[in-house]
C-alpha cells in the first residue's frame, strides 16, 4: 500500500532532476551562444572591411545592371529601365545574401585555423556555441547588407507596393533563407583546413541568382538551363520576394522557398556539427 506513493515520489524527483539538467544545458547553450555572438559583433564593429566588401559587391551589381544593361533588359521584359529596377531588386537582395556567405566562411575558416578553437574545445562550454555565435553574428551582417542594398535600390527608383503583412512575409523569408545559407557557409568553411580554399567554396552561390530568375526571366534561357533555373532553391526565394514586394500573393512559391530553406538549414547544420566535432 505504502510503496505506491513512494515510487511516484521517486519518479517525480528523477523527472525533476532530468528536467533541471536539460534546462541547465539549454540555458548554458543560450548564454554561451550569446557570449560568442557578442564576440562576433565586436569583430564586425572593429574590422568592418569584410562586411563593407560583401555589401559593396551587390551594390555595384545593382548599379551596373540598372545603368549599363537596364535599358536593354527593361525592353526585354516589356518595359524600360525603371521596370527593370523593380525586376532586379529581389535578385540583388539574394545576391547580397550569397556574398555575405563568403564573409562568414572566411571568418569561420580563420577561427578554425587559429589556436583559439582548441581553447574553446577544451573548455566546459556549450560545444555548439562557437558555431551559433558565427551564425547569429552573420545574421546581423546580412541584415546590414540587405538593408544597405535595398536602400540603394530605393534611391535609384525602386518602389514597393507591399502591405505590412507582405513586408512581414519578406522579413520572415529573408530570415529563413539567410539562416540556411549561413549554416551552409559555416559547413563549407570547415571542409578544408585552408582559409583561402574554405573561403572560396561558397563562391558558386554568387552565380546561382544568375542561373535563376535573379537577373532575367528563365523563360529566355535555353531549355537545359531553364530547367535548372526553375528547379534550384534561389528561384522560389527570388520569385516570392518579387511577388511580395509587388504586393501580390506569393502562394506556392513561398512554400517552396520555405521548404528549401528548411532542408538547407537542417542539412548544413548537421554537416557543420559533424565537421566541427571531427
Amino acid at each position: 500500500m505504502t510503496t505506491t506513493p513512494t515510487t511516484t515520489t521517486t519518479t517525480t524527483a528523477t523527472t525533476t532532476t532530468v528536467t533541471a539538467t536539460v534546462t541547465a544545458t539549454a540555458m548554458r547553450a543560450i548564454t554561451d551562444s550569446a557570449t560568442m555572438t557578442r564576440r562576433q559583433l565586436k569583430h564586425l564593429w572593429r574590422y568592418p572591411t569584410l562586411i563593407l566588401t560583401y555589401t559593396g559587391v551587390p551594390v555595384v551589381f545593382l548599379l551596373l545592371f540598372v545603368y549599363v544593361f537596364g535599358g536593354t533588359m527593361g525592353a526585354g521584359i516589356g518595359g524600360d529601365r525603371a521596370t527593370y529596377v523593380g525586376y532586379l531588386t529581389p535578385g540583388i537582395i539574394v545576391t547580397a545574401i550569397a556574398g555575405a556567405a563568403q564573409g562568414t566562411a572566411i571568418s569561420v575558416a580563420i577561427d578554425m585555423t587559429e589556436g583559439i578553437i582548441a581553447r574553446f574545445k577544451t573548455m566546459a562550454i556549450a560545444r555548439v556555441s562557437v558555431l551559433t555565435g558565427h551564425v547569429l553574428g552573420a545574421l546581423v551582417q546580412n541584415f546590414i547588407a540587405i538593408t544597405t542594398v535595398t536602400l540603394v535600390a530605393v534611391l535609384i527608383g525602386f518602389r514597393s507596393a507591399a502591405s505590412a503583412l507582405d513586408w512581414l512575409g519578406v522579413i520572415g523569408l529573408l530570415a529563413m533563407f539567410t539562416f540556411a545559407i549561413t549554416w551552409l557557409s559555416v559547413a563549407l568553411a570547415m571542409v578544408t583546413k585552408n582559409v583561402a580554399t574554405a573561403s572560396n567554396l561558397p563562391m558558386p552561390l554568387m552565380v546561382l541568382p544568375f542561373l535563376g530568375s535573379g537577373f532575367v526571366p528563365p523563360e529566355s534561357m535555353p531549355a537545359p538551363l531553364r530547367w535548372f533555373a526553375e528547379h534550384q532553391p534561389f528561384t522560389p526565394v527570388i520569385e516570392t520576394l518579387r511577388e511580395l514586394l509587388a504586393g501580390r500573393p506569393a502562394g506556392t512559391t513561398f512554400l517552396a522557398a520555405a521548404a528549401w530553406s528548411a532542408v538547407i538549414a537542417l542539412g548544413s547544420y548537421l554537416w557543420a556539427r559533424k565537421l566541427y566535432n571531427r
Binding site: 564576440r39 565586436k42 589556436g115 581553447r119 577544451t122 573548455m123
Partner: protein, 313 residues
C-alpha cells in the same frame, strides 16, 4: 602528508595511430598533484598528440586514462572543468583587446559580470599587461601574447594546466619571465603542470619529473638528476694550490686526465656521493691542499642525444 591524494594524471597503455602510422605506442604516466611534469622530446615524438588526448581534443585508440579523476573520452566536460590548456599556437583572439580576451573567458566560465571584470584586471596586473589592456592583441609582441594566453587559461583557476611548448619562439628574457610565472603558479596556487618542451634547459629548470618521449615511447623518466646519471661522462675536476700538491695528488689519486698548465686533475665520477667522500678522505689523509673542486654531471643534452636516437633521415 598528502600521499593519499589521487594523482592529477594517470595513464596506462596509451596508444594512438594515424592510419597505419603509430604516434604513441604504449605510454604509462603518473603525475602527482602539485608537481611540474615535463614531457621532453624532439619534434614529432608525439608530445602534442599526448596533450591533445589528455585535454579531450582527440580520442585515444587504447589506454586507461584519468585526468583530474575522470576519463577524457567518457566524461570530457568533467575533465574540461578541471583543466586549462595553453596550446602550442597562441590561443588568443587577436581581433579583441587583452582585456576583452580575458572577459570572454570569464563570460564563458559564467563568472558573472563584476567578478569577471575583477578577475580580468587581476590577471592583467599579474602578467604585466595592464598598459596594453585596451589594445588589440594583434599588436602584442610574442612574449605578451604568451602571457595573455596563459592568463586566459588561468581565468577559471584550473587545478591542472597543460602547457604545450610554452616558450617556443620566445627570446631569452621572455622565456625566463615565463619560467618564473610557471614556478610561481605551482608555489602559490598549488596547481599541477603538464609541460611539453623540446628545450632541455627548460625541463631542467622547471620540472620535478621528466619523461623522455622518442618515437611514441617513453625511453626514460625520473627527476632531472636521475636522468643525468643515466649516461656516463661525469667527472670531478680538482684544481690544486701549488705544483707540489698537484704532483703528489696525481701520484695518489689516479687521475684519468690532467692539465699541467692549470694544475687540474680529472677523476671519473659515477654520480654517487661515495666517490666524492672517498676522494675527499684521500686528499685529507695525504694533506693535499685543494684550490677548487667541481663536480660535472652530464647535462640533459647528453641524456637527450643518447636516449632519443632518431633513425637517420
Amino acid at each position: 602528508m598528502h600521499t593519499s591524494r589521487p594523482p592529477a594524471i594517470s595513464v596506462t597503455g596509451l596508444r594512438k595511430s594515424y592510419g597505419t602510422h603509430p604516434v604513441l605506442s604504449g605510454i604509462d604516466l603518473t603525475i602527482p598533484q602539485g608537481t611540474i611534469f615535463s614531457l621532453l622530446g624532439p619534434n614529432g615524438a608525439g608530445k602534442t598528440t599526448t596533450v591533445q588526448i589528455l585535454s579531450t581534443l582527440i580520442k585515444p585508440d587504447a589506454g586507461d586514462i584519468r585526468v583530474a579523476g575522470h576519463d577524457p573520452a567518457k566524461e570530457p566536460d568533467h575533465v574540461r572543468a578541471a583543466i586549462g590548456v595553453t596550446g602550442q599556437f597562441s590561443a588568443i583572439d587577436t581581433f579583441l583587446t587583452g582585456e576583452e580576451n580575458l572577459r570572454l573567458m570569464a563570460d564563458l566560465l559564467h563568472l558573472g559580470r563584476t567578478p569577471g571584470r575583477r578577475r580580468a584586471h587581476e590577471l592583467l596586473e599579474r602578467f604585466d599587461l595592464t598598459d596594453a589592456a585596451h589594445q588589440p592583441a594583434a599588436t602584442y609582441s610574442g612574449g605578451m601574447r604568451r602571457r595573455l594566453d596563459l592568463a586566459m587559461t588561468l581565468v577559471g583557476t584550473p587545478r591542472l594546466i597543460f602547457l604545450d611548448e610554452p616558450t617556443t619562439g620566445l627570446d631569452p628574457r621572455s622565456r625566463r619571465t615565463m619560467w618564473q610565472i610557471v614556478k610561481d603558479l605551482v608555489r602559490q596556487n598549488g596547481v599541477t603542470i603538464f609541460l611539453t618542451t623540446q628545450y632541455l634547459e627548460e625541463a631542467d629548470q622547471l620540472a620535478d619529473h621528466i619523461a623522455l618521449l622518442s618515437q611514441g615511447r617513453l625511453v626514460a623518466h625520473g627527476t632531472p638528476d636521475e636522468l643525468k646519471r643515466l649516461v656516463p661522462g661525469g667527472h670531478i675536476a680538482v684544481r690544486f694550490t701549488d705544483e707540489n700538491a698537484y704532483r703528489r695528488a696525481l701520484h695518489h689519486l689516479g687521475a684519468t686526465t690532467h692539465d699541467d698548465a692549470t694544475l687540474t686533475a680529472h677523476l671519473p665520477h659515477t654520480g654517487g656521493v661515495k666517490t666524492l667522500k672517498n676522494l675527499l678522505d684521500r686528499l685529507d689523509t695525504h694533506a693535499i691542499d685543494v684550490a677548487e673542486l667541481t663536480v660535472h654531471t652530464p647535462d640533459l643534452d647528453d641524456v637527450f642525444l643518447t636516449l632519443t636516437k632518431e633513425p637517420a633521415p
